[in-house]
Amino acid sequence: MPALDIAQEEVGYLTPEAMTEVAHALNLDPGYVEGVATFYSLFHLEPVGKHRLYMCTNLACMLRGAYDMLAHANQAIGVSESGEVSADGLFSTEEVECLGACEYAPMMRLDHAFHYDLTAEKIDALIGERRG
């Protein structure tokens, strides 16, 4: 899995070619590598935005308005549903399961960091900073 990490970091997501290359490097069957990659949600098999908003919508966050936050984030980056990449290629959102920061709900993970107590304004600011 660390090898797949390196490949994903380089290309942005795991292309069939990248997985085959990992398989050859480790002397594994490409089908086996693909099997591992498809099992874990942090491996992306489709293109994703440069900045990914992993938004928790599990119960603790849902009770505190996570679905409104998700809808707001999708609107802010201009996509109709999670999984789509924004037109400038910078952003995509993903609805994820509990991220283990329930006392700060609603929350999300963006660029390898957690962002707590989300509000529409906070999401707008985080997106704005990254648009530059």
């Binding site: 942090l42 119960l59 329930c102 006392e103």
Partner: protein, 448 residues
């Protein structure tokens, strides 16, 4: 995952500082520099490890056994007994694998412990490794925990520099090492045998037992698996002695534990409580009770896998026996609270989606039953259900339960449906039969 940029500071600590009556784990939490080796050593850090390395390993196992400490990951198995399952050394490798894959919905206490005191966790791991005569520990941490991963990695680097990790910790001829391994987003990895599969670089599907990990674990070698909070408690027990530890808690459920309290309450946080206090204390006092004008309706006492209880059962106490008697469980200590604006059919739907999505696909009842339950509840929520769907849902949940699968994920999905239908039958009835939702009126009134 490449180089990480410096992490922004964690949010303000939300927890039991100054509020809890007993601090065993959280005593120094919030102290500046506690995360550094120097800061931790100011409070006697690693003195307990040094003492332990001079003891007989068996004496350490016995001390933990007599402390009555039980695993804090969810199953609540006696920690000392688990340590005792490890076979005698045969000269080959044996491992301590630490479960930091905290993914049970509503549970955030392991993250809280690591972010406050990573060295307390590491000291516990090293004491456990010596007690079961292992030289190599692995920390399996969920991939989304960037900051805890960084903090543990930094702490491990400090220990290497200080030669507490290495061939001769404290001059003793007993090599110790800790390695980190990151997960990649799969709830099932919290299950111990699925975690081992993942650690070996495979799809995380649970193994059938026996053989148990103590006999054949990581890379088919004897392996001890413990949760972060469990191991973080070990230094206190060895330092102060089991006799001190048993003064806390109930007869069958000793000590204190950390509850992560979230949802519709005023002051969510991670609170250290003495096991045995009632949930009224946790929800109404520590967590500040419901919002203005609202009423608590239901709570999940130990993560989403613990059966939901109605507010009328807030008198139940936090020990495993009382919760089992109330037909729920202590689980992972993730207490989620919902008020009267919450539709229980909606919460059931959201949790079922979680279990269906996270099913690893190995066992048929869980793979098929989970999605079937999701579709059935979706139909009921959409106002297209009937009494027959309720009966079907009841049969699906029964089919998910009672050990039909290799691990407990399927059972948990069954419990979600069973407990919600059991405690809130009228809500399912009105959605399925009359195609209405009375909670919508409460919500409308609340926002008016």
């Amino acid at each position: 995952m490449g180089k990480h940029k410096a992490q922004p500071p964690a949010g303000p600590l939300r927890g039991s500082h100054g509020k809890a009556r007993h601090h065993l784990l959280t005593e120094h939490f919030g102290t500046r520099d506690l995360a550094t080796l120097k800061g931790y050593q100011r409070f006697g850090g690693y003195e307990t490890l040094e003492k332990a390395l001079g003891m007989e390993p068996k004496a350490l196992v016995d001390e933990v056994k007599s402390s009555g400490l039980r695993g804090r990951g969810g199953a609540g198995f006696a920690t000392g007994v688990k340590w005792g399952f490890m076979p005698p050394p045969d000269g080959g490798p044996r491992y301590v694998v630490v479960n930091a894959d905290e993914s049970e919905p509503g549970t955030s206490k392991d993250r809280y412990i690591i972010e406050n005191s990573p060295h307390m966790v590491l000291e516990g791991i090293l004491i456990a490794a010596f007690a079961v005569q292992s030289h190599q520990a692995w920390i399996y941490i969920r991939g989304e925990y960037d900051r805890p991963y960084q903090m543990l990695s930094d702490a491990i680097a400090e220990l290497r520099d200080a030669k507490i990790l290495g061939p001769r910790p404290f001059g003793e001829d007993y090599a110790l090492d800790i390695q980190m391994y990151r997960g990649h987003g799969a709830y099932i990895c919290g299950e111990e045998t699925a975690l081992l599969e993942s650690l070996e670089g495979k799809r995380a599907q649970p193994r059938s037992r026996p053989p148990y990990p103590a006999v054949k674990g990581a890379w088919a070698r004897p392996t001890l698996l413990n949760n972060i909070e469990t191991l973080a408690t070990v230094p206190w027990i060895i330092r102060h002695g089991a006799a001190e530890y048993v003064k806390f808690g109930t007869e069958k459920n000793r000590g204190t534990r950390l509850l992560s309290v979230s949802g519709h309450i005023r002051t969510p946080g991670v609170y250290e409580i003495e096991i045995g206090v009632p949930f009224t204390h946790v929800i109404m006092e520590l967590a500040g009770g419901p919002f203005e004008g609202r009423q608590i309706k239901a709570f999940w006492p130990g993560g989403s896998s613990a059966k939901v209880l109605p507010a009328s059962r807030m008198d139940v106490t936090t020990d495993a026996e009382a919760l089992a008697a109330a037909d729920s469980m202590a689980g992972s200590g993730g207490c989620m609270v919902a008020d009267d604006t919450t539709c229980m059919v909606e919460t059931t739907y959201r949790l079922l989606k979680f279990y269906a999505y996270e099913s690893c696909g190995k066992c048929t009842p869980c793979r098929v039953g989970g999605n079937w339950a999701v579709r059935t509840v979706a139909k009921i929520l959409a106002g297209e259900g009937s009494r027959m769907d309720l009966q079907m849902l009841d049969r699906i949940q029964a089919g998910l339960q009672d050990g039909r699968c290799l691990c407990g994920l399927g059972d948990s999905a069954g419990w979600v449906v069973q407990s919600a239908m059991n405690h809130f039958p009228e809500e399912f009835e009105e959605h399925a039969v009359r195609h209405t939702c009375s909670v919508k009126r409460v919500r409308a009134a609340a926002s008016a």
